[in-house]
Symmetry: C2
Subunit: 460 residues, 2 copies
């Protein structure tokens, strides 16, 4: 079995396992107590805090241990917004943040706050200018991920931090995907991360609040973690988290180079191995271990099953693989093809031969799914036919509307149009993407009696 | 070293350790994923949920795993209050709840809610009549612990649940101290608990929300734990928590009897071994492992240090052992002596000889502390002196004001009064308690130029 979904959760690092075992016996007591067991627990916790601070590049008293990365994000955003509520009730996030950031933004909106979602380009990157334009006098906080969790694109954090600093607005960086690779550059104000993304145990998040950043904890708190994260500290897991962060950092430079080469192979070779593939994300500014591509005419869930049967665990941003049946918000914001989407995220230590085997297995898996769906093998030649065709794909899910479009497209003459009626959310993304891949003109969408009509004009 | 502070945190149960180790390799992946590692994690999580439900006596889909008992309480109270906000904004808690409940109540008050704190008797118990009197049309929620964490008193949960049910008000039970001993009786609506109290690992809380209970999660959530506890599930710790709950339950009946006998010895023998001791809590309706007493003229922190040096880890509700320098709110609500307070909470498996050694060591430890403080050995005989004496104890901390009162008390004639000026919060509790123990009359308190004057009349 090759586990290629490290961006969801990395397997426990051997150092984490070792540290966890060692501290189960020393770190279970209440570190607030003065007796021997409490003092031992306190020593472990203090040492972990110092080591975490060193890895992040901050002061130990700026580090708050939380119970997950999600908790760190929720706590950090709520606390920073509350700390600056007198400044204003405006929040800036990128449109490709992790759902924990976007959920926080939605709650803030529901409570009367205003949120600006900064757009990204087709690689998934924001620009400092985008943040600069969004900043305004009432901006309480800006949030930006250090790198995207679905496509691996690295964000210009230092530049965005600089424009935020100039405006006197704190920047919260969600460093969940990158902290194992190195410290986050630039003058950020708050930082959140998650241990199980770097091979630490579940149950540990990291929130860093720089001195001088206004912060008012929301909801009930207690005396733990400087009043910012209530509840008994999970010291064995904290110790294991920090020990593994140090361990992965020690291997980071060499491992980054190795994984970057392996994901580079996938980026380069998949388009040659599989027809009609869009590799997404930035080819240069990207995390070492993540590569993402989408396959036209492919049902993402079926492809994941095929790959799982072949021994590969990967994830997907396709609508059919989400509980809401909508494509990933990241792919949507990038405006790229979402059907047949595959994210490969290699864990540290991923073997070259497994990557090679993946490249061997993938074309057959894609072909199998396409055959089952009756996907057209190639774009048919134009026939003399009616100038407008309507395809009724109502009630049909991704990738069927695109397949049905492709099947009839040969029947309209150059200059003619096809109207695809669809009530599938993915069509809004995938029909324009199909046009881009096929060099046809996407005219636009119109409301229809049921669902939406997506209009495509044949130009060649 | 004898660890007698199980009510804070129990050492890891061997079964928890075993289960944790076993599931570290099987339970690290995302249980929401469809590939093999995800399915394995899901199977472990589902099995843990079923086993937890069986131990609690509820349905598996009523169980929410949280990251701590505190988180379970915070989430449960906030969610239940929000779910019934149209009914009203009134919350009932007992005055001896765990701080996590009281902190939730304070936040609710800050947000405009109203809170009734039900009083307890001198044993720390509420009555169903007390809750009945507090219920009103706008009551959204009532909270009651199953048993008190500081003095071990078992609360009449079933009776209180019955009066709440009759009023249509849900009852949330904080079962942190008792769930390891057995299911909570009665028709409660929500339940919270904490794994590290029964020998499970840190980082796991349990929230149960009965079907039909209105519940609206507050703050940002995600798709995990039925939208009630956001963030990646800590499956290895959850598995360990539930496995150890089953293990301690299997031993509960026998172990309860054994510990009850050991704490009974302490209850019975301490007043004979140490002069001027008040054993607090209910002698009958109590948890098996907890016994709490207070020693007149003793500095709680100094006594804890003495006991730690002698090899005993216990905790205290004395003001000098709290970061706020106020006595425990539980002792305050009970109206009992708070100085020199010691809570002994025996972990499962505590050895009889360790308890016997504690009883041997305690008298010397108390005497040592009293000698250092210059505590009066006995009440001096009355002397003919002025009818009123003033003792200026301003700026002096517990137990000094009571010691100074005792030292001069012999100088006033029967019928005369002593006014103790003090700005120490503990004096409000401990001077009346001293009067009770000495059979003298506590006249009351009056505001003084600085601090408060506590007036005591000599009656014998």
């Amino acid at each position: 079995m090759s586990y290629f979904d490290a961006a969801s959760a990395a397997p426990l690092h051997p150092v984490a396992r070792q540290a966890l075992l060692a501290s189960l016996d020393e770190g279970w007591a209440d570190p607030a107590r003065l007796y021997r067991e409490g003092r031992k627990a306190r020593i472990l916790l203090d040492a972990a805090r110092e080591a975490a601070a060193e890895a992040v590049g901050c002061r130990p008293d700026e580090v708050v241990f939380t119970s997950s990365g999600t908790q760190a994000v929720h706590t950090g955003i709520a606390g920073a917004l509350a700390g600056r509520r007198r400044v204003g009730r405006h929040l800036i996030v990128s449109s490709v943040e992790h759902s924990s950031v976007l959920h926080s933004a939605e709650v803030f909106e529901r409570d009367g706050g205003e949120v600006t979602r900064v757009a990204v380009d087709r690689t998934g990157a924001v620009t400092a200018a985008g943040y600069e334009a969004a900043l305004r006098p009432g901006t309480a906080l800006a949030c930006l991920q250090s790198a995207n969790h679905e496509v691996g694109t690295v964000q210009p954090v230092a530049e965005v931090a600089e424009v935020c600093r100039a405006a006197g607005v704190p920047l919260l960086v969600d460093a969940a995907q990158s902290l194992g690779w190195g410290p986050v550059p630039g003058g950020w104000s708050l930082l959140a991360a998650s241990a199980h993304k770097w091979g630490g145990p579940s149950g540990v998040g990291l929130l860093v609040v720089r001195k001088g950043v206004r912060f008012a904890a929301r909801g009930p708190v207690d005396e733990r973690e400087s009043g910012r994260a209530p509840g008994f500290e999970n010291i064995p897991a904290i110790v294991a988290a920090v020990a593994s962060l140090r361990a992965v950092r020690a291997e980071a430079a060499r491992e980054a180079e190795r994984l970057r080469e392996l994901t580079g192979r996938i980026r380069t070779r998949v388009p040659g191995l599989v027809a009609d593939v869009e590799v997404v994300g930035d080819a240069e500014r990207r995390l070492p271990g993540i590569v993402t591509f989408s396959c036209l005419y492919v049902d993402g869930e079926a492809l994941l099953h095929e790959l799982d049967r072949a021994g590969f665990s990967v994830s997907s941003g396709s609508s059919c693989t989400s509980s809401t049946l909508t494509p990933s918000h990241v792919l949507k914001a990038m405006g790229v093809l979402s059907e047949g989407n595959v994210r490969v995220s290699l864990p540290a230590g991923a073997a070259e031969e497994d990557v090679e085997r993946f490249l061997e297995v993938l074309p057959g898996a894609v072909t199998g799914v396409r055959e089952k769906l009756g996907a057209p093998a190639a774009a048919p030649a134009a026939q003399a036919g009616p100038g407008e065709l309507v395809v009724d794909s109502l009630g049909k899910r991704c990738p069927i509307p695109v397949i049905e479009l492709a099947k009839v497209f040969g029947q309209v003459p150059v200059g003619g149009t096809v109207r695809v009626l669809s009530d599938d959310e993915a069509a809004r993304l995938d029909i324009p993407a199909w046009c881009g891949m096929r060099g046809q003109e996407y005219v636009g969408e119109e409301p229809a009696e049921r669902g939406t009509a997506y209009v495509v004009r044949r130009v060649s």
